[in-house]
Each structure stands twice: as structure tokens, then as C-alpha cells.
């Protein structure tokens, strides 16, 4: 374990130190009770039964029995308290950790999300955190108790008889080595079996997916054969696993009995001058059996510890990188946004000197609309990602109403800009919540937004209207319908600036008309920026900006640009019409 990992574990546990101390003390008490139980039996055997008396002085076997019951009941109650407290502590730790991680993910900037696949984040927050839960429940909750138990048993045995205890412990290294070997073999055979199982599962998953293909090419025979082969292979791969399990159980049984036999040999032959009372022999036999359980558990837990440390490191490798976090606290709060946008000699690269935008300058006056035109990779999408500060620029400045956007509070900046992406994200919540997006809006306001966005027909056709729960990622809706919902979001939130990445996907004519209506309505009153694919949109804007390789090569209105001889835009436009005429 790296030093750093230990520090990280300590950091996680620090807030819980009180519980840990209490739990440890309770663990000691419980274990003392556990150890006392066979000792009570020893007393009963040596001091009473062997002598043939029921009571000696004030104490009778009945009282010893009563003490035994008391220890059993109180011990178990305490045990219940500690185990429950430990697992709750574990739950608390992972609860906090999960919240921290989620918060980090939410507050991390877009570059972080670009380089970290969402699947990885998902695994971090779910299964990696789960590994830590297992670590707490299986290891932390038992570890203290087990260690205390082993130590206490060792002390007890040595106090009862040093020599015999010493001889008994000579057995332990042998046991440790053998079970380490078996565990290793067991891991290997299990891994192999798991691999075969994965093979079988991949085969099944593919066959399920490709069932139509199998049917129309009459390949049932071949696939059945493969299924049989893989199933039998898996069946066979389980064989060594069961052998190992059998051997492990048998070896534990052997060691227990070997321990008993050794004690007997020594006491019978009075080797090393050992001469014991019957009760002591009984107690030794019992303790030998008792000590195996915690030892086994600690050995089993090594794997859990390893898995947990890996997960802990993975999680903190994310959490420790504070530089990706966005600051939502500082910056100027925008009071009333007019909507003037200005790019002043903006240079931007996603990495290094690989400039995507090279000295871009343009102005959009409040209420004006512009269209960004250019080939894929010319920098259109990058420009809209810069306006709401998904990325920070390297050179130049971007101004909103004359204020550098770096000085504006992030939340306030983003709330003033409404972006619709090509494939808008629809949450698996109600249509209402999808439009509202956690903002407090009344049903009437939402219905109004639906109406304004011309999504009314679509929403009303849903069985539950705005209460309808969308399927995962809105999969049951078409691209056009998702865009309509995104427009409703804009109408509901009323940002001053509107950004649209027009869809290239096929949208049916009816939806397209509805979308066009919304676009017209919005661009009339808001500052609008379009990444345009349709000629109708382009012709309608106040200003067209033509991008080529990260530079603005032309800007102006449609009429200005189209009449420019040899202009890039006029060439595009003319080739379009000549194609139509063909």
C-alpha cells in the first residue's frame, strides 16, 4: 500500500474517530466475554465437576452457568450495537464520498469531461465507491475485533501454559503457508472459469442480437454447436474450483484435529515437563478452534483490501485535481442583460498551439441575429462553446454587454444564454421537469412555453401531456421532437441570448415547420447565433459570418455577400442554385 493511500484512508476516517474509538473498546469487551466463556467451563470442570461438588463456598455451578448466560446475552447485544455502528459508519463514509464525487463531476469544467468518458465517471461513483463500502463492512468492522481476538487468545494461552502455547503456535506458519497457496490456486482457477463464462456470455449476447441473421441464413445448427461447446467448456472449468474448495475445507478440518492431537500427545507423554489439568486441555482445544476463524477471515480480507485501495486511489485521483473545478461564487452578477456580444481577436486551442480559432473578431448588437457558416472543423461549434465559457480562451477577449465574460459570475453568464444543441438531451423525467430544469416554474408558465414553441400538438398527443415521463434519454422521441422540447426550455427560461446548432438529421415537414416558427419568434426579440445548415435560416439573419480554418473570411448580410464577386459565400450560393437548376 502506498503511503499516500494510507493518508487517504485516514482522511476518510478522521471525521469518524469517535465512533472508531468506541467501537474498538466495545470490541475488546465483547472478545473478553468470548474468551471467558470456555474459561467458565474450565472452572466448572476443574474446580467443581472433577472434585464432584456442585458448589464451593458461595459459588455454585448454577451461578457459573448464570454468568455464562449473562455474558452470552450482553455480549451479543453489545456485538449487535458495534456491528451496526460500524456498518453505519461505513455507510456515512461512502455517503460523504459519493456526494463529494458527484459534486466534483458537476462542477468540473468541460475540458475535464472531454478527457474523462462518462462511463468512467459512472464506474467511479457507483462500483468503485461500492468497493469501499465492502471494505468497511467486511474489513473495518471485523478487523479490529479479529485482531483483538487473536491477541487476547494468544495472551490467554500463554498465561495458561507457556510451553504448550508455544508449541501450538508453531503450527500457525504451516497453516498460513498452505492456505496462502490454496487461495492462490483458487484465485487462478476461478479467474479462468470466469473468463470462460464471459466468453459464453458474449456468445449469447451476440446470438441474441444477431438472431435474425442466424435465422435467415439457416445457421441454427452451427450456433447450437457453439453454444454446446462453450457450455461444456464452462462446466469443465468449474471442476477445479470445486476440487479446491473440497481441499481447503479438508485441510482446515485436518489442522483442527492435528492441534487437538498435538495437545494430547504432549500432555499424555508429559513432554517438556508439561502436566495439565483436564480443564486446561479442554480450554486449549477450544481456543485452538476459536483462533482459526479470525485468522481465516483476515487472510480472506486481503483481497478486499487490495480492491478497495485501488478504488480509493482512483477516486482521489479525480478529487485531488482541483484545477478542473469551475468557480460559481466569484464574478459579477449580471443585473439586466442587453445581449451585446463582442469577440476581440480571440485565439483558442483545445491543446497546445493547435489553434482552432485564429484571431476572431466580430460584434453582435443586442437583438441582432447572426449565422455562422463554414465547413466541418472551421470552428463554428467552438465559437458557441466559448460564449458560455465551456472553454477559456488563450488570447483576446470575449465581452458580454461590454464586460469580459471571465469577470462575470459563471452561473449568471450561463443563465443569460440559451443553447440548443443538435441532439438536445432529454432527461428521463416528466416533460414538465424537462422544460423547467429544476427552476421553480408554474404549470401555466410551462404550458405557455410549450405553446410558444409550437410544441403544443406534440405534447398534447402524449397520453399524460406535460406530466408524461420521457423514456431514457428521450429515446422514444424523434430528433425534431427533442428540438421542440429544447425550444420550450428557451421560452420558459427566457435567456437574452439564443444559440442554435441546427439539426442536420431528417426532420419531418410538420415538425420542421413548427421549429421554423419558433426560430422566427425567438430571433425577433433576442440576440441570436445560429450554426446554420439551411439556406432559409441563413438568408433571414442580419449578419453572416463565414469561417474557414478558424478565421473569418467574410462577414456581412446575405445581400452584401452574395454580390461579392469571387466571394466564398457567393460561390457556395451560386453552386447551390446551379445544382437545383440541373
Amino acid at each position: 500500500m502506498r503511503n499516500q493511500t494510507i493518508k487517504r484512508i485516514i482522511k476518510m476516517l478522521k471525521p469518524q474517530y469517535r465512533s472508531i474509538i468506541i467501537i474498538s473498546i466495545l470490541a475488546i469487551i465483547i472478545n473478553l466475554g468470548e474468551i471467558a466463556k470456555p474459561y467458565l467451563v474450565k472452572i466448572a470442570i476443574d474446580d467443581y465437576i472433577s472434585l464432584g461438588v456442585w458448589e464451593k463456598g458461595a459459588i455454585s455451578i448454577g451461578i457459573i452457568g448464570a454468568i455464562y448466560i449473562a455474558i452470552a446475552i450482553i455480549g451479543e447485544i453489545l456485538n449487535f450495537v458495534t456491528t451496526t455502528a460500524t456498518s453505519m459508519m461505513g455507510e456515512n463514509v461512502v455517503y460523504t464520498l459519493r456526494n463529494k464525487l458527484y459534486k466534483y463531476v458537476q462542477h468540473a469544467n468541460i475540458p475535464f469531461h472531454d478527457k474523462t468518458p462518462s462511463g468512467t465517471l459512472f464506474v467511479r461513483i457507483t462500483s468503485d465507491v461500492e468497493d469501499i463500502t465492502t471494505f468497511f463492512k467486511d474489513v473495518v468492522s471485523t478487523f479490529v475485533k479479529d485482531v483483538v481476538m487473536i491477541v487476547a487468545l494468544v495472551i490467554m494461552m500463554f498465561t495458561l501454559d507457556v510451553k504448550l502455547a508455544g508449541i501450538c503456535f508453531l503450527m500457525l506458519p504451516a497453516l498460513a503457508i498452505i492456505s496462502a497457496i490454496i487461495t492462490k490456486i483458487s484465485k487462478k482457477v476461478r479467474e479462468y472459469s470466469k473468463k470462460v463464462k464471459t466468453q459464453l456470455n458474449i456468445f449469447l449476447a451476440e446470438s441474441i442480437y444477431g438472431v435474425k441473421l442466424i435465422k435467415i441464413f439457416n445457421r441454427q445448427y452451427e450456433k447450437e454447436k457453439e453454444c454446446k461447446e462453450l457450455s461444456i467448456k464452462f462446466w469443465k472449468s468449474r471442476r477445479p474450483v470445486s476440487y479446491v474448495e473440497a481441499v481447503l475445507g479438508a485441510i482446515l478440518f485436518f489442522f483442527e484435529n492435528l492441534g487437538v492431537s498435538i495437545i494430547m500427545w504432549i500432555s499424555v507423554n508429559k513432554l517438556f515437563g508439561i502436566d495439565l489439568e483436564v480443564g486446561v486441555i479442554y480450554i486449549f482445544v477450544t481456543y485452538i478452534k476459536q483462533i482459526f476463524e479470525p485468522i481465516n477471515r483476515i487472510m480472506e480480507n486481503f483481497e478486499t483490501i487490495q480492491e478497495a485501495t485501488v478504488s480509493i486511489n482512483k477516486i482521489y485521483d479525480i478529487l485531488d485535481h482541483k484545477e478542473y473545478l469551475e468557480d460559481f461564487e466569484k464574478g459579477i452578477e449580471l443585473e439586466e442583460v442587453k445581449g451585446k456580444i463582442e469577440f476581440k481577436n480571440v485565439w483558442f486551442a483545445y491543446e497546445g498551439e493547435n489553434w482552432i480559432l485564429k484571431g476572431i473578431s466580430f460584434v453582435v448588437e443586442p437583438g441582432q441575429s447572426i449565422a455562422l457558416v463554414g465547413k466541418t472543423g472551421s470552428g463554428k461549434t467552438t465559437i458557441i462553446n466559448l460564449i458560455n465559457r465551456f472553454y477559456d480562451i488563450q488570447k483576446g477577449e470575449i465581452l458580454l454587454d461590454g464586460i469580459n465574460i471571465k469577470d462575470i459570475n459563471l452561473r449568471s453568464l450561463r443563465k443569460s444564454i440559451g443553447v440548443i444543441l443538435q441532439d438536445p438531451f432529454i432527461f428521463a423525467r416528466s416533460i414538465k421537469d424537462n422544460i423547467r430544469l429544476n427552476e421553480n416554474l408554474s404549470d401555466e408558465a410551462i404550458m405557455e412555453a410549450v405553446r410558444l414553441s409550437s410544441a403544443e400538438d406534440f405534447v398534447k398527443a402524449l397520453p399524460h401531456g406535460i406530466e408524461e415521463i420521457a423514456s431514457e434519454r428521450g429515446n422514444s422521441y424523434s430528433a425534431g421532437e427533442k428540438q421542440l422540447l429544447a425550444f420550450a426550455r428557451i421560452f420558459a427560461h427566457e435567456p437574452k441570448i439564443f444559440v442554435l446548432d441546427e439539426a442536420t438529421a431528417n426532420i419531418d415537414t410538420k415538425t420542421e415547420a413548427a421549429i421554423q416558427k419558433s426560430i422566427d419568434k425567438i430571433s425577433k426579440e433576442k440576440t441570436s447565433i445560429f450554426i446554420a445548415h439551411r439556406l432559409s435560416t441563413i438568408i433571414g439573419v442580419d449578419k453572416i459570418i463565414v469561417l474557414y480554418n478558424g478565421e473569418i473570411i467574410e462577414q456581412g448580410s446575405h445581400n452584401e455577400l452574395v454580390n461579392k464577386t469571387d466571394g466564398y459565400y457567393s460561390k457556395l450560393y451560386n453552386s447551390y442554385y446551379s445544382n437545383l437548376a440541373e
Binding site: K37, I49, G52, I61, G65, I73, E76, T83, S87, M88, Y95, N99, Y102, Q106, H113, S118, L121, F122, I125, T126, L200, L204, E206, G210, K212, K215, I216, F217, N218, R219, Q220, E224, S231, V241, S242, Y243, V247, F254, V260, M264, W265, V268, V278, V285, F328, K375, T376, N388, R414, G418, L421, F427, A428, E472, R489, H493, A532, L572, S575, N579
Partner: protein, 581 residues
Amino acid sequence: MKKVLLDAIKKYKIQIILHAIFIGIHIYILTIPPKLIGNMIDLLYNLEENKQAILNITYQLLGICILFFVVRFSWKSLENYVVRGTEKDINIKLFQRFLKLKLQNIQNIKNGEIMSYFVKDVNEIRAAIYRIMTYGSRIIFTFIIAIYQMASGVNINLTIAVMLPIIVATYLVIKIKKYVETSFKKSQDKFTELSEYIQESTDSIRTTKAYACEGEQLKEFIRKNRIVRQSNNAVDVFSNLLSTCTKMCFGICYSISLIYGSKLVLDGKITIGELVAFNGYIGLFVNPVNWIPELIARVKRMQISYKRLDAIFDLEVEKINVKEHIKSDNLNGSIEIRNLTFSYPGSIDTALEDINIEIKVGQTLGIIGTIGSGKTTLMNLLTRLYTVPYGKILIDGKDINEIPIEVLRNNICYVTQDNFLFSTTLRDNISLFKEEYDDSEIKESTRKAVIYDDIQNMPNGLQTVIGEGGGDLSGGQKQRVAISRAFLKNSRILIFDDTFSALDNKTSEKLIDNIRELTQDKTCIIISNKVSDVKNSDNIIVLDESRIVEQGTHEELMEKNGIYYEFFEQQASREEENILA
């Protein structure tokens, strides 16, 4: 399903019986050490006389370890043989069944759901069989053998006194286990909910940021996370309660044996050694008592899985002969469809309405239409993936239902629109696991499908494994691999269902030329959204909302100035508009 299980029991009956016998011996062996230890303790009181006897007992003790090893090994192997063997049998039978199911019955079940039948339900049944076989017999034998040893070997009254708390423990454990199960189920559901929320959050991060609602997202997450913590805590409380109760009951057992047993010793009814042995016997009950509720819970879960699998086995299957070599009568290939109307089972909307088509051998039919107009449904009927009504589809003048399915499909090559490839070599993906084709045939088919050069450029050529280094194919390449199958199979009827969508114009033109050459004397159907793919067909039908709305050659349809013409216009303009993008 019942038959599958009964078959398994019949098949493994000898192993099952042997397993039970070995378990019995195993339990019996477990009762020997306490007895021997007890004997030794008694002998210790007269050490000098009994020295040799005690030593002999230790040899016995070690001797039974060897016996124990043999017995444990035997039943473990038998258990694995039977349990995993049954799992294997169910798996194979289920898979065979699945391959024969009618496509229309499984189409609405998600792939993940079908997968869970194999992974989850079969596993559930396996786990239950395992527990019934091993835990069940161990519980029964422990109660029989250990009680017998206690009562006959030590003292019957003491046995009764001790059994009371054990029975109470069993009862409590069964009761509490129910709460553990329900709370566990709940906590799993809550965790799934949280997982789904996380998945959505990580996927939607850009939208969340654009609307600056991170704070609200976080609040909701904390709420959900808190519920998860709560429900996990509930599980912990119940399962801790469970172990506390059993341990407490056993603690009481031991104290009874201490007090009452001591008295019996003092009264001379039993010896100290017997008392010690008796304590050892009590210990044998600890595991079985915990296994009982586990067994009950498993059997319950198995019932659910059993019912789910049973439902699959009850679904209608295709009448098809599954053989390695299908003796195939060659069809000629003329197709006639008469007044065909079709709707999906359970749906009132018709998927196809009043379809009339005739294709002669050597002709090519083009089908064009929007998504959901019924194109693929029609092809699924032609290949009898769906149940076809009688007298509606005729091949070579014979009703399609009269032709054995395997013969029909051997004579049709249907290249589907989803270009799914198995994660195996390209060669296997083209030959589809048939070994009868040689390399030159396969290469020739790839050449015809205009994928030959692409494959040559891959590091391992035809042996390239899909998905592994260099095996990432583009959509267009996948489509052409799928089309290679048609050139290889060389059947009488060929169907291409929207298989050119990801190809550039040049490639698709070349490909369509090759297809035309291949299908000169064959029957061919080309389905597409693109006018350019179908315009050279002998006959074109336009499908719209389940009906044939237009029919004729390209020129005839253009003159009609109808939907086909509209398609043509739209596509021409869309192609050009994209220049601006």
C-alpha cells in the same frame, strides 16, 4: 421447462443418490471428533493406565481426516457435476429453444431482457438446485445424525433441553430473514435508481452546465444518496439482528448444557467427556440453522425464475429442421403476393395493407418508402420470420407455408439493414461459420462487394477479428461485409434492405452494377430510401403508411408527379443543401 428439469434429474439420478450418501457420511464424520475428544478427556483422569488408549484415539482422529478428505472431495465433485451439468443442460436447451422462436414473438423483448434469462434466471435456478442438494441434505442429516448421537450417546433429556433454543433460533432466523430479504430488495432498487441518475447526470453534463443547474442536480443527488444510505442501514440492522439472535440462542444452549450437564455428571448419569462431546455436537447445528432461511429464500427466488423461463418455453416455435447439411430443393424464384394484409399480434393497426406484387425470375423490384411504411415487415414475411397467412404469398406458384422453412431460407439471401457483425474473424462473418466455402470463393465475394481492397489493407486480412486491433470497421465497410454474404451464398432470391445507406455514391454505383450482374437470372429486391438506388429496377413500388401507393418504372413514376417525384426532388435538394454545412 418442467421437462428440462425432469430430464436433468433422470440423467443425473445416480450422481444425486451418491451425493446424498456421501453427505450423510460427511455429517457422520463431523460427529466423530467431539466424541473422540470426550473419550480422551475421560481417559485423562486415569492417565497412567490409559496412555496408550489416548494415543490410539489421536491416531484415529488423524485417520478420519483422510476419510473426511475422500468423502468431501467425492460429494463436492458430484455436486459440481450435477449442479453445473444441469445449468449447462438448461442453457443449451434454452438456447436451442430461443433460436427456434418466432421472431414476431420476441421482437418486443429487449435484448438485455433476453440476456437476463440466460444470465440471471438460469443462474438463479442453478443456485437453488445447489442449495437444495447440498444445504438441504446437510441440514437433514445434521438434525438426524447429531440428535441421534446426542440422545443415544449422551443423554436424551439434555438433548431435549438443548434442542428447544435451537428450534427457537431456527424460527427466529426464518422470521428475520424475510425482513432482510425485503429490505435488501428495496436497497437494491434504490441503488439502481441512484445509478440511473448518475448515468443520466454524467451524460447530460453539457445541458446541465448550459442551464447552470448544477446546484439543483446536486441537491437531488444528495436526496437520493441519503435514501440509499437509509435503506442500506436497514439491511445492516436486520442482518445483524439475524446473527445476534442465532448466537444468543446458541449461547443459551451452551449454558443449559453447562448447568444441566454438570448436574448430570455429578449425579453420575454422564461422564465429563460425554459432556464435552455434547458441547461439540451443539456446534454442529450453527451452520444448518443459518442455512434454512437461505434455502427458503432461494427456492422462492427460483420459483420466479422458473416461471419466467417457463414462459419462454411456452412461446410458439418455428417448424424447422436444424441439421448440419440441409438437403435443399432449389426453388426457381418467382414471387407472387396476393392481397396481403398483415398486422402484428396484439396490434389493431395494420402493418401492411392489401399488398399485390409479382416478380418474375430475372427481374429486380425496387421498394422505396419512409421509415415505418412496412418495407422490412414485408421482407420478414417473405422469409417467414413472421407467420404468413395462407394463400397470400406464393413462390414458384406454391404457397410459402408449404415450403419447409429451411429450404425457403436456403434459397433466399436477405441482407438486412442492421449491419451487425459477430466479434469473430471477417472470414467467419462472411461465411457465417460454414466451413464448406474455400478462401478463393470468399475472396471473390469480397471483390464483388467492393470490400476486397479494404480487407487486404487490414493487418490480418480475412483473419482480422472484428473489434480487435485494426478490426474497427466503418458503417460502410460493415455494410459491404454483409453484402459479401449475398455474393457468396448465390441464392435464387436476393433481398437488399437499405444496405447502401452508408456508402458514398461511387462505391454504391459500382456495387449496384455488380449486383445487377449477379442477379441477371435471379429474383432481386432492393429496398432503399434513396431514389438513385432503385431507379434502374424493372419495377418500383412506393410504400406509404402500409400501402402501395405508386408502382411502375422510374420513368413512369417520374411522370406521375406523385410521392416518388417528391422523394426525388427532396433528395436532390437535400444533397445540395449540405454543401453549405
